[in-house]
Amino acid sequence: MEKSDIIVVSKNRGEKGKYVKPFLKGLQYTLGNFFSRPVTVQYPEEKTERSERWRGLHRLNVDEKGELKCVACGLCAAVCPSQAITVVASEEEWGTRHPEKFVVNELRCVFCGFCQEACPKGAISLTKVYEYVNYSREDFLFDISRLKTTGEKWDC
């Protein structure tokens, strides 16, 4: 490393004996901000907009006929780093697969979004919903009927 890459910051250590002036300078900054517009958001009443890429609660997408896009390949369960997804597949006589059981444990989930990146059908996606409250731990095991409607009614 060259000498020109270094700044010695301790050169501007505060002088001794000064008390009132720096104190007033600090107060001046506070006073300057006192009359500016507040940045606070009154959370439960006001909400900020989440970005398009926000990774919130899961949703199982449906096709035009209203049936689940999911074919229960289990790739989301395989890629999940926290093993939050359980998929049990069932197969019709003519070979169509659909999930018999699809449970996302929202307490285990770390919301990395790997499941929606892995899904080959675009069947699982993470919504913008970020508020989830329940009375018991079992209620956080979201099953198919719950995952189909994420973000539709007021949530949880």
Binding site: M1, G14, F23, S51, W54, C73, A78, G113, P120, L126
Partner: protein
Amino acid sequence: MTDRKTVTLNMGPHHPATHGVLRVVLELDGETIVNATPVIGYLHRGIEKICENRTYQQILPLTDRLDYAAASANNMGYCLAVEKLMGIEAPKRAQYLRVIMAEFARIMGHHLWLGTHALDIGAMTVIFYAFRDREMVMAMNEEIAGYRLTPSFIRIGGVAYDATDDFILKVRKFVEWFPKALEGYHQLLTENKIWTTRTMNIGAISAEEAINYGMTGPSLRGAGVAYDVRKVFPYSSYDDFDFKIPVGENGDVYDRYLVRMEEFKQSINIIAQAIENLPSGPVMTDNPWLANPSLSEVQNDLSALIRRFMINAKGVPVPEGELYSAVEGAKGELGFYLVGDGSEHPYRLKIRAPTFYLASALPRLLVGHMVADAIAIIGSLDFVLGEIDR
């Protein structure tokens, strides 16, 4: 013989000024500390062991949770280690985006440090301004990565998504605005008599001792050693940028404060250069084991579908070998020692957490000071227990 009586005082693990669950057993003579023993392990989650049975991609969200105040820097350190073992390099645009995210992580980490450190010492105002500005950085994290605190944005072989126009606009605005805010922090603290009295000549350590304790980052630079991984072993295009390394002279709490305050300025300088010179091109390497094929590709091409299954279900095979790769995190040299055995899981991943070494220097720094100074010293070292205990 005098019968000298000392009192043992437990500071932590639930003390608000230890920033997590650090416990320090203090032996006091009156109000002077005669002996101090840091006790760690309250946040041990066994991350290094968990890593051994996860695939290389699955480890990424775990690295977010090491130094959770500056998560992107951990992602970068881990990804660089794996990339080095695989012998690949991320595209230039991805490298620049990585630099932007890592510097944002540093700024976020320093904001948290500044706010809480000042709050501990008694300057309550600063945390409101620090968190106001930290919120802006988090909004930018959200814009590009989709998450605020643990973005998981930097991936092996590149980054997860390309930057949006909105993100670039927001970064430009922030870069323009932030120096003014920084001036405000200086106005509130730097010359304030109460602040200087509380921090000057407290917890001083000489350069030689700091090196012997393995201290890195702002704590080492505060003692006068100009060691920064970004300059000494440049990675991820850091040699493209023009920035300076701030160093102190006295190694006390005040010098560590000044070093970090200057690092804010240098970080914003790097971000400004990176966003103006952002190269065009892909953000993910074309290595078929790493580039996840797009959804339309997968639905129209069988080989892409198979590739997606292999990448996500089986994982990336990483060649045999071992290496150490370090980045400059917000707290110091963050190293990943990686041993690969040719499979999809690391054989061993050892994380060199900078604050672990700072914690080992605590007894040396605390002895001889008052209890109230212990708060200032612990705050100035900027501990994150997620990283120490892993």
